[in-house]
C-alpha cells in the first residue's frame, strides 16, 4: 500500500518507489476523434432518458452547496438541473450543457438566485435532480455541503434513478456515531417521486430495533430527521446513546427515497458524513479503507502537522444473529506491509459498536506512521454488517472519513478524481494492493492549465489544480481513493467517483445575506456581503466584504448604514414596504503583466443585493374593560394597535389566545360540583389583527347547571395572548400578554350556601351567589 501525493506525481519522483507498476499514461484514455464525436452526439440526443438524484443541499444557516458534475461522454450533453424545495411543492429548472470531459461546478446559492428562487424560504434546502438523455451513464457527481465559518463539511452522494432502472435501495441503512452532548446528527431524506409516500423509520441502538412513527413525504419533499429528536421519542437518554443505526423503509411500489446524513459539532468543527449504500453495493464480508491517519503522523505523511488522530471503526450488525467483526491494521514499514489483528468485536443482533483505535491499539504500532489501512471482516454472511471508518483529530476539528470498499470490486474506487494543491491543501491518492502479486496501475494526470510553461513543461511546476485518472491493469484485489483535505480549515473531502478537470477556479459570486428578510418597524437586520471563490477540489473560500462595501437602500421602507453612518450593512425598518439593500465594492484582482513584467492592479466593480421587507406587527395590546355579564360570565374587551399606526397594515397578522387546562384533552371539569362540561385542551383562537379589538368571555357552556352535592373545588387555566404574522418569527406566535390565570371555584359561604366565582388577575370577576 502506498499513497501518491499529487505533488509527487507531478514531479514524477515518487512513481519509481511505488511498488505497483505505473505506466504514466495509458491508451484507454485516448480521446475519440471529432468525427466520432459528431456521430455520438446524434446518438446521445436520441438516447434513453436518464436521471441522477442528490438527496440534499442546504443554503441555510451559513451553509453553501456545490454541485459538481462530471461527464465521461465523448460529446457535449444537454442536461436539465432541477432544484426541488424542501416542501417539494416548488421547483426551479435550469437547462445547461456539459461538454465532453468537463467538470461543471455549480454553486447552488447563485443558481437559485439566478432563477429568482432566493426569496423563497422553501429553497433554503431541498434536493437536486439532473436529467439528460444518453445510451450510457456518463454523468456522475456529488454535492459538497460546507459551512466555512464552522469548519463543517459533508457530502450528498448521487443515486441513479433512470426510469425503470435505479440503484435506490428499498431499505436505507445508515450508521451514526459520535453523537455526544453538543453534537447533532441529522438524516436528510428526499422523496424522488411525484407521489406521496410513507416510510417507517426505525432506530437501532443498544441491540434493539425501535420502530418509530410513520412519516409521510409529499411528492419530492425533503425531510430532515434529527437523530436526537427521534431518540427522545423513544425515551432514550440521548446523552448516552452515541451510536446506532437508522433504517428507513419506504412504502411505495418501487423505491423512491434517498438519504444522506451528517454528524456535526458546531463548536469544535467536528463533522462526518453518514452514507446510505445504494442498491447493488457488492455484498462482501471483508471491507478495507486505505489511507487512514493514526496517531501523530510522521513527517513524510501527507497528514503531517494535521494533528494527532484516533481512528474510529463503527460496525453495525444488520442481522438478527450475533456475529463478530475482526479489525486489522495494516501499516507500511521499510520491509513491507505489516499487520496487527485486534481482538474480535462481539456484535449482538442489530448491535452497533464504535471502537476507537486509541492508545491501547496505537501502543502496539511502531508510531509514528504516515498512515495505515484498516480492514474489517465480519463473521456473518456477506452484507450482514456495514461499517464506517473515520479518523478524528484530537482537537475534534478535522475528521478524515475513509470510505470502506471491497478490494475485489471491479472498479475499486478507480476513475477520474480532481486534485488541488496550495499552501494549506493536500491531495493524496491512496492505493492498497491486497493481493500477493505486484499490481499495475495506469495513471493520467492533467493540470487545469494546459499551456506549457516557460520551460516547456506540459504540467507547470506550480500548477494548483487538475485531474488524476487511475485504473488497475490487473485482476488483483486493490482499492484506492483520492482525498483532498485542508488541515487548517479542518475539512476533508473524499472522491472515489468520476470527477475530471476543466473546473473553473476563481471568483464565483458576491452575495448578500440574508437574501431576503422580513423586519419589523424599528427592527434591525445586519446584512453581510461575502465573496466566494472556488477551487478545483470543490473547496470554497469566503471573504467577508461587509465593511469594505458601500451599502444603499432604494426605498424609504428602511435605511442601511455605512462606515461613518451607522454600522455597515445594518438595516433599520422605517415603514411598511420593501427595499433592495445593495452592497457594492471594488475588488482588486492583480494580474501578471507580460509587458510590464510586474503585477498590475485590476479593479473590478462587484455588487449584490438582498431584499428587506418591512412589516407592521401588533403592539400596545391592552385590556380595555371588564364586566360581570351574569350567570358566571366574566367578559373582557381588549384593544391593540399597529407599529405603523395603521391597523390595515396588519392584514397578514392575527391576534389570539391559547388557554391551557391542568389535565387531559379534552379537559373535563370536575363534576360535581361544576357543570359537566369539557373543553379542548389547549384552546386556540385567532382573529384578524386588522380588527384592533377583541372580546374574551369566560362562561359556563354548554351546561350552566351545577351538580350536587356541592363541595369546595377549583381549577385554574393559563392564558396567553399572542400574535403571529406570516413573515415574522417564521409565522410562529409571539406573546403579547400572559401568563394570566383563569380560576373557577366553588366555595361555601359562611351561611352554608355555595357560590361560584371565575376570576382573572386583571380585575375581572363574575360570581353566582348563591348557587341554586
Amino acid at each position: 500500500m502506498r499513497p501518491a501525493t499529487v505533488s509527487s506525481l507531478l514531479a514524477l519522483t515518487a512513481l519509481a518507489s511505488v511498488p505497483v507498476s505505473v505506466p504514466y499514461y495509458a491508451s484507454p484514455f485516448t480521446k475519440p476523434s471529432q468525427a466520432h464525436n459528431t456521430q455520438m452526439a446524434q446518438q446521445t440526443t436520441q438516447g434513453a432518458p436518464r436521471e441522477i438524484d442528490f438527496p440534499y443541499y442546504s443554503l441555510r444557516d451559513g451553509y453553501s452547496s456545490l454541485l459538481q458534475l462530471v461527464s465521461d461522454s465523448p460529446v457535449s450533453l444537454p442536461i436539465e438541473v432541477t432544484i426541488r424545495s424542501s416542501s417539494g411543492r416548488n421547483i426551479l429548472k435550469k437547462d445547461m450543457n456539459i461538454s465532453s470531459q468537463e467538470k461543471l461546478m455549480i454553486e447552488l446559492q447563485s443558481l437559485v438566485a439566478s432563477l429568482n428562487g432566493e426569496s423563497e424560504d422553501d429553497f433554503q434546502e431541498g434536493s437536486i435532480s439532473v436529467s439528460y438523455a444518453s445510451d450510457t451513464r456518463p454523468i456522475m457527481g456529488q454535492i459538497t455541503v460546507t459551512n466555512p465559518y464552522l469548519n463543517l463539511i459533508f457530502e450528498s452522494r448521487l443515486a441513479i434513478n433512470d426510469p425503470g432502472d435505479s440503484n435506490i435501495p428499498a431499505v436505507l441503512e445508515g450508521i451514526w456515531w459520535g453523537l455526544k452532548p453538543g453534537r447533532q446528527t441529522k438524516v436528510m431524506v428526499a422523496n424522488t417521486s411525484n407521489s406521496s409516500v410513507t416510510a417507517d423509520v426505525s432506530l437501532t441502538f443498544r441491540g434493539q430495533r425501535h420502530l418509530g412513527a410513520l412519516i409521510s413525504f409529499a411528492p419530492y419533499e425533503t425531510k430532515v430527521l434529527s437523530i436526537r429528536e427521534l431518540l427522545a421519542k423513544f425515551n432514550a437518554d440521548t446523552e448516552f446513546v452515541s451510536e446506532g443505526g437508522i433504517t428507513i423503509t419506504g412504502h411505495s411500489p418501487s423505491p423512491v427515497l434517498i438519504a444522506s446524513g451528517m454528524t456535526a459539532d458546531l463548536n469544535s468543527g467536528f463533522s462526518t458524513t453518514m452514507h446510505f449504500p445504494p442498491a447493488g453495493t457488492p455484498q462482501t464480508s471483508t471491507l478495507l479503507a486505505p489511507g487512514v491517519p493514526i496517531g501523530t503522523p510522521s513527517a513524510e505523511s501527507p497528514f503531517a502537522l494535521a494533528g494527532t488522530f484516533t481512528p474510529h471503526v463503527v460496525v453495525r450488525n444488520l442481522s438478527s444473529s450475533p456475529q463478530t467483526a475482526t479489525v486489522s491494521v495494516e501499516y507500511p514499514t521499510a520491509s513491507g506491509t505489516q499487520l496487527i489483528t485486534l481482538d474480535p468485536i462481539n456484535l449482538a443482533a442489530y448491535a452497533t459498536k464504535d471502537v476507537a483505535l486509541d492508545s491501547t491499539v496505537q501502543d502496539r504500532l511502531p508510531l509514528p506512521l504516515p498512515y495505515c489501512s484498516i480492514q474489517v471482516k465480519n463473521s456473518g454472511s456477506p452484507g450482514s454488517a456495514v461499517a464506517e471508518i473515520s479518523s478524528v483529530a484530537h482537537n475534534q476539528d478535522l475528521v478524515v472519513d475513509s470510505k470502506l470498499g471491497d478490494p475485489t470490486d471491479r472498479l475499486s474506487g478507480s476513475g477520474i478524481n480532481p486534485w488541488h494543491l496550495d499552501d494549506q491543501t493536500e491531495s493524496v491518492l491512496f492505493l492498497a494492493n491486497e493481493g500477493d502479486a505486484p499490481a499495475r496501475v495506469a495513471f493520467q494526470i492533467q493540470a487545469q492549465r494546459t499551456k506549457p510553461d516557460m520551460f516547456g513543461n506540459t504540467i507547470p511546476a506550480r500548477a494548483t489544480d487538475g485531474s488524476l485518472f487511475w485504473v488497475k491493469m490487473d485482476r488483483v484485489p486493490m482499492i484506492g481513493r483520492t482525498l483532498v483535505f485542508s488541515s487548517h480549515k479542518g475539512i476533508s473531502s473524499n472522491f472515489d467517483c468520476s470527477c475530471t478537470l476543466h473546473c473553473p477556479q476563481g471568483y464565483l459570486a458576491l452575495s448578500v445575506a440574508p437574501s431576503s428578510t422580513t423586519m419589523t418597524i424599528n427592527g434591525t437586520q445586519q446584512f453581510t456581503a461575502t465573496e466566494r471563490w472556488g477551487d478545483c477540489s470543490g473547496l470554497i473560500y469566503y471573504y467577508d466584504q461587509t465593511t469594505s462595501s458601500t451599502w444603499t437602500s432604494n426605498s424609504s421602507a428602511c435605511t442601511v448604514g455605512n462606515n461613518g453612518l451607522g454600522s455597515s450593512g445594518l438595516a433599520t425598518g422605517v415603514a411598511p414596504g420593501s427595499a433592495t439593500i445593495k452592497a457594492s465594492y471594488t475588488d482588486d484582482v492583480p494580474h501578471w503583466s507580460v509587458a510590464l513584467q510586474d503585477c498590475v492592479d485590476n479593479y473590478i466593480q462587484r455588487s449584490a443585493s438582498g431584499t428587506a421587507n418591512v412589516v407592521a406587527v401588533p403592539t400596545n395590546f391592552r385590556q380595555t374593560s371588564t364586566s360581570d355579564l351574569g350567570n358566571g360570565d366574566v367578559h373582557f374587551t381588549y384593544a391593540w394597535g399597529s407599529t405603523s399606526g395603521n391597523l390595515a397594515d396588519l392584514s397578514a397578522c392575527t391576534v389570539g389566545e391559547i388557554v391551557t387546562y391542568p389535565g387531559g384533552n379534552p379537559y373535563h371539569w370536575q363534576s360535581p360540583p361544576f357543570p359537566a362540561n369539557s373543553t379542548s385542551n389547549p384552546t386556540v383562537s385567532d382573529v384578524a389583527a386588522t380588527a384592533g379589538a377583541g372580546v374574551d368571555d369566560n362562561f359556563l357552556y354548554p351546561s350552566s347547571t351545577f351538580v350536587r352535592p356541592y363541595s369546595a373545588a377549583s381549577f385554574t387555566a393559563t392564558q396567553f395572548f399572542r400574535y403571529k404574522c406570516t413573515n415574522i418569527n417564521g409565522g410562529n406566535y409571539v406573546n403579547l400578554l400572559g401568563p394570566l390565570s383563569i380560576t373557577r371555584s366553588v366555595q361555601q359561604n359562611t351561611n352554608g350556601t355555595w357560590r361560584f366565582t371565575v376570576t382573572k388577575p386583571t380585575n375581572g370577576q363574575a360570581t353566582i351567589n348563591a348557587l341554586p
Binding site: A688, V695, D696, Y701
Partner: protein, 289 residues
C-alpha cells in the same frame, strides 16, 4: 366571515365573492322608512352534499346618520338559525356560542354605505344528508330602534354527493387560501373548506395546512372533523414537519380523535404516533428488507 363596507349599493343579483356560486337576493328583510335595508342572500345554484353553504348578510344605510349593528361575538353569535331537515320533524334552533377570545361584533355603517359579510351556514346546520332544508335566519333585535329586524326564511336543497364537483369546490377554496392577500380572506376560505366533512377534503386541507397563511389551526380543525386515517396521517406528519406551535395543535387534535374514533386501526395509528414508544424486541420485529 369577512365583512366589508362599500360606498355603493350592490345590485340585487351578485356575482359571488366566496365561491363561483351566484347569490340572489332572497328578501329585503327589514326596513326603516326605506332608509336601512337588511338583506339576506343565498346561493342561486344547486348545492351538492358536503359543499359549504354560504349566505351573504347585507345592510345598506340610506339614512343621513351612521348606524351601529351588534352581530355578536365573531360577528355571528347574534344570528339565530332555525331549520328543519329532509326528515322533517321538529325545527332545530341554533345560536353559536364560543367561549374565550373572539372578534368584536359591533359594526358601524356610515350614511350611504353598505356593510356585507359572507357567512358559513354550515356552522349552524350540518347539512349531513341530501334533501330540502327549511331555514329561518333571525338577527337578534338591535338596541337601535332604527333597525327593525324581521326573520328571513328560505329553502335550500342539497343534492346528492357529487365527488367531482366537491373536489372542484375544495380545490377552489384551497386556491383561494394560497392566493389570499390577507389573513381574513385566507381564513374565510379555510373555514369553508374545514366544514367539508368528507375524505375528499383531506388533501386540500393538507395543502392549506402548509400554505403559510396562518390558517393552520383551521385546517387542523377540519382534518380532525373528517377524522379518517388519511387525515390522521396528515396530522402525524405535522407533528414532525411543522413548528412547535402547530405541532401542539395537531397533537391535541390527534388526542381527541384517538378518544372518539371507534376505528381500532386509527386508534393504533394515533397511539403509535403520539407514544409511548413501541419497542419491538427481536425476533418478533418484522422484516424491513
Amino acid at each position: 366571515m369577512h365583512g366589508t363596507k362599500l360606498s355603493l349599493c350592490f345590485p340585487l343579483v351578485l356575482p359571488l365573492a366566496l365561491l363561483t356560486t351566484i347569490f340572489y337576493e332572497a328578501i329585503a328583510a327589514a326596513t326603516d322608512a326605506d332608509e336601512i335595508t337588511v338583506s339576506y342572500l343565498v346561493p342561486s345554484t344547486k348545492i351538492t352534499l358536503h359543499e359549504p353553504v354560504v349566505w351573504r348578510f347585507q345592510v345598506h344605510n340610506s339614512s343621513s346618520v351612521a348606524i351601529q349593528l351588534d352581530l355578536g361575538k365573531n360577528r355571528n353569535e347574534n344570528f339565530i338559525v332555525s331549520y328543519t331537515g329532509p326528515q322533517a320533524g321538529a325545527p332545530q334552533t341554533v345560536r353559536l356560542r364560543k367561549g374565550g377570545f373572539g372578534a368584536v361584533g359591533l359594526v358601524s355603517v356610515a350614511p350611504n354605505e353598505t356593510y356585507e359579510q359572507d357567512m358559513l351556514l354550515n356552522q349552524w346546520v350540518s347539512f349531513a344528508e341530501s334533501g330540502k332544508y327549511e331555514i329561518e335566519i333571525r338577527l337578534l333585535q338591535q338596541e337601535s330602534s332604527r333597525v327593525e329586524v324581521h326573520p328571513f326564511r328560505t329553502t335550500i336543497e342539497i343534492l346528492p354527493l357529487d365527488p367531482t364537483r366537491l373536489r372542484d369546490v375544495c380545490s377552489g377554496l384551497a386556491q383561494k387560501v394560497d392566493d389570499a392577500s390577507s389573513y381574513q380572506k385566507a381564513s374565510d376560505a379555510a373555514l369553508a373548506l374545514s366544514f367539508v366533512r368528507d375524505p375528499i377534503a383531506v388533501p386540500y386541507l393538507q395543502r392549506v395546512l402548509y400554505a403559510k397563511q396562518l390558517v393552520e389551526p383551521i385546517a387542523i380543525g377540519g382534518l380532525e372533523q373528517v377524522g379518517n386515517e388519511e387525515a390522521a396521517r396528515v396530522l402525524v406528519d405535522a407533528l414532525n414537519g411543522m413548528s412547535p406551535d402547530v405541532a401542539l395543535i395537531a397533537r391535541a387534535a390527534l388526542e381527541r380523535m384517538e378518544k372518539q374514533t371507534p376505528n381500532p386501526q386509527l386508534k393504533k395509528l394515533i397511539q403509535r404516533s403520539l407514544g409511548p414508544t413501541t419497542t419491538i424486541l427481536n425476533p418478533g420485529w418484522r422484516a424491513v428488507a
